[in-house]
């Protein structure tokens, strides 16, 4: 087991990982930018090192600074959290070369699953359903036209190295394709230094469903059920739940078995998430692998009883899954997570600033993951999430009732937050009926969500 772990992240996830280290009796080292000097992750870690200025390019994203901090504090391992360097294969490689365990998949696996097209090929080979589309990278607009003709419009052009909607175009007819192809290619080249595109059939009004994976260093893979993440604004998840109201036990089992094989085949290790789109007939299609802990991991923790972050550390230290997990892992009850962001609840305009008052909800069935405290400042440099509010119940109805009362007793003053938006969602008949998809928010005209699905 590790003696000391460095957490290459900030905010609630840094605190989450520090807590896991404390529970495992491991010393923790926080790194922080000058803007985060008064953060709770700095306060509660055993050691803390300032690694750079407020802008993340010079601090949380700066590999030499993070590695230097790890070296001067003599840690055995680095947990990257989510975002920042978490899926950066170069960083994982530098860790390896520096003799520091990277708590995540191996660099070569990070590279494989980080390229959307190669991940898609690997999944397809293993029998995981993928969307009809191009075989590999498109060579030209002409090839795109021919593939699109075969799978039928509308189709999506996607950047192979993509993410966040950049290099993505929806094509409704062959007439528009050549133009949109060159636009997407230029955008992808600018954003990712790689203009490679591929093409997939567009699923209308899809649901976004993802499966949680844990894989140890000994070839054992466990799938811990799915999360429903269809409620999004501007391609960003805002409310997640587990299990999905639209996944049957049969579908869960079938996909889980296929996925376990696929992840074993690619040599996947540690925690990861496999994202799918679900069409209106209830079919799932692979879209991508997120090779890290997800923001929304607590809903899975609530319904499985598994501590995913502790599991990540134990896996990286070489523990086999049968030592970490109950066997078999059962799914019990229902959990919902609301992301409480420092944003205007209608325009989604960022609202950084000082929390002049804060009351966190508590009590039965409620979990809050946050690094916020009364009088803390939400800086404008990083993402806008202030807290994750998670509610658990015996069934979806009880989880919803708990979440409502938790939102009612969650007080944030001084800045805007998404609390009122969540209150609106949790009172909406379509949400209550489980009747929604990724365009739900934009269709309701709740906030300026983009129209194209993610």
């Amino acid at each position: 087991m590790f003696d000391k772990v460095l957490i290459a992240n900030r905010g609630e996830i840094a605190l989450r990982i520090i807590c896991a280290c404390k529970e495992l009796g491991i010393r923790s080292v926080a790194v922080y930018s000058e803007a985060d000097r008064n953060s709770l992750h700095v306060r509660f870690a055993d050691e803390a090192v300032c690694i750079g200025p407020a802008k993340s390019a010079g601090s949380y994203l700066d590999i030499p600074s993070v590695i230097s901090a790890a070296e001067i504090t003599n840690v055995n391992a680095i947990h990257p959290g989510y975002g920042f360097l978490s899926e950066n294969a170069d960083f994982a490689e530098v860790c390896q070369m520096s003799g520091i365990t990277f708590i995540g998949p191996r660099p070569e696996v990070l590279k494989l699953v980080g390229l959307k097209q190669s991940a898609r090929e690997a999944m397809k080979t293993a029998g995981v359903p993928v969307l009809p589309g191009s075989e590999g990278i498109l060579k030209s607009a002409g090839e795109a036209l021919s593939v699109a003709g075969k799978v039928g419009y509308p189709v999506m052009l996607k950047a192979s190295a993509g993410g966040g909607g950049r290099g993505l175009r929806v094509v409704h007819s062959g007439d528009d394709l050549p133009n949109l192809y060159s636009q997407a290619q230029t955008e992808a080249a600018a954003a990712f230094s790689c203009g490679d595109l591929y093409l997939e059939k567009l699923v209308q009004d899809p649901r976004h469903i993802e499966f949680q994976v844990l894989a140890d260093l000994h070839g054992n893979v466990e799938i811990l059920g799915e999360r429903e993440c269809s409620l999004q604004r501007r391609h960003q998840k805002i409310l997640e739940e587990a299990p999905s109201p639209s996944v049957s036990p049969q579908l869960r089992q079938t996909i889980s078995e296929t996925l376990a094989g696929a992840m074993r085949d690619v040599g996947y290790t540690n925690a990861g998430t496999v994202e799918f789109l679900m069409d209106q007939q209830g079919n799932l299609y692979f879209i991508e692998v997120n090779a890290r802990i997800q923001v929304e991991h607590p809903v899975t923790e609530f319904v499985t009883g598994v501590d995913l972050v502790k599991s990540q550390i134990l896996i990286a230290a070489g523990e086999p899954l049968e030592q970490i997990l109950d066997s078999p892992v059962a799914i019990r009850g229902h959990a919902i997570e609301c992301r409480i962001n420092a944003e205007h609840p209608e325009t989604f305009a960022p609202s950084p600033g000082r929390l002049t008052a804060l009351n966190l909800p508590g009590g039965i069935g409620v979990r809050v993951d946050t690094a916020a405290y009364t009088d803390c400042v939400i800086p404008p440099y990083y993402d806008s999430m202030i807290a994750k509010l998670i509610a658990y119940g015996h069934d979806r109805a009880e989880a919803i009732a708990r979440m409502r009362r938790a939102l009612d007793t969650f007080v944030i003053e001084g800045i805007h937050s998404t609390i009122p938006l969540h209150q609106k969602i949790l009172a909406d008949p379509d949400f209550l009926a489980g009747n929604f998809h990724t365009n739900y928010l934009s269709n309701k005209n709740w906030g300026q969500a983009a129209v194209s699905p993610g």
């Binding site: 008064n38 090192v49 300032c50 030499p64 600074s65 590695i67 070296e71 001067i72």
Partner: protein, 159 residues
Amino acid sequence: MTIEEIKEIIQLLVETGVAEIEVQRGENRVWIKGASSGQDTQISLMPASPASPNSSVPYSAAQLPSPSLPSTPLPPIEDNLPVIKSPIVGTFYEAPSAGTPPFVKAGDTVQPGQVLCIIESMKLMNEIEAEAPGVIVKKLVDNGKPVEYGEALFIYRPL
């Protein structure tokens, strides 16, 4: 100065976290000192860990296990002289190699571009140079010790 103007100044004080302000216009003068909340703003910019027990830092060190690595305990700045800070995280070396004399010692006059020390980061030796002429007043870090980003290395008196 009208009450409206004073209100605006106070608002500024609260928002920016400025501790005290004095404004004079002809014979009119206003002096304002930010309090508990104004002070907080200041506190949020203060180093987190070495809070003295009687300070009003949100979570005082007295009641908390303080991090063992000093989170930039800003050294007492002698006579308000400026400091030279580390631009990177790493290990501080005062000399080019073991057994050789230090690059600089207290009392030395340094010129722009002159090497003051080395910070080792990821096996690379980064020479830290003086940016302006001055006299080294004090070295603040011991040879071979880790330094954070922004940590003060030397106190100097500009020439």
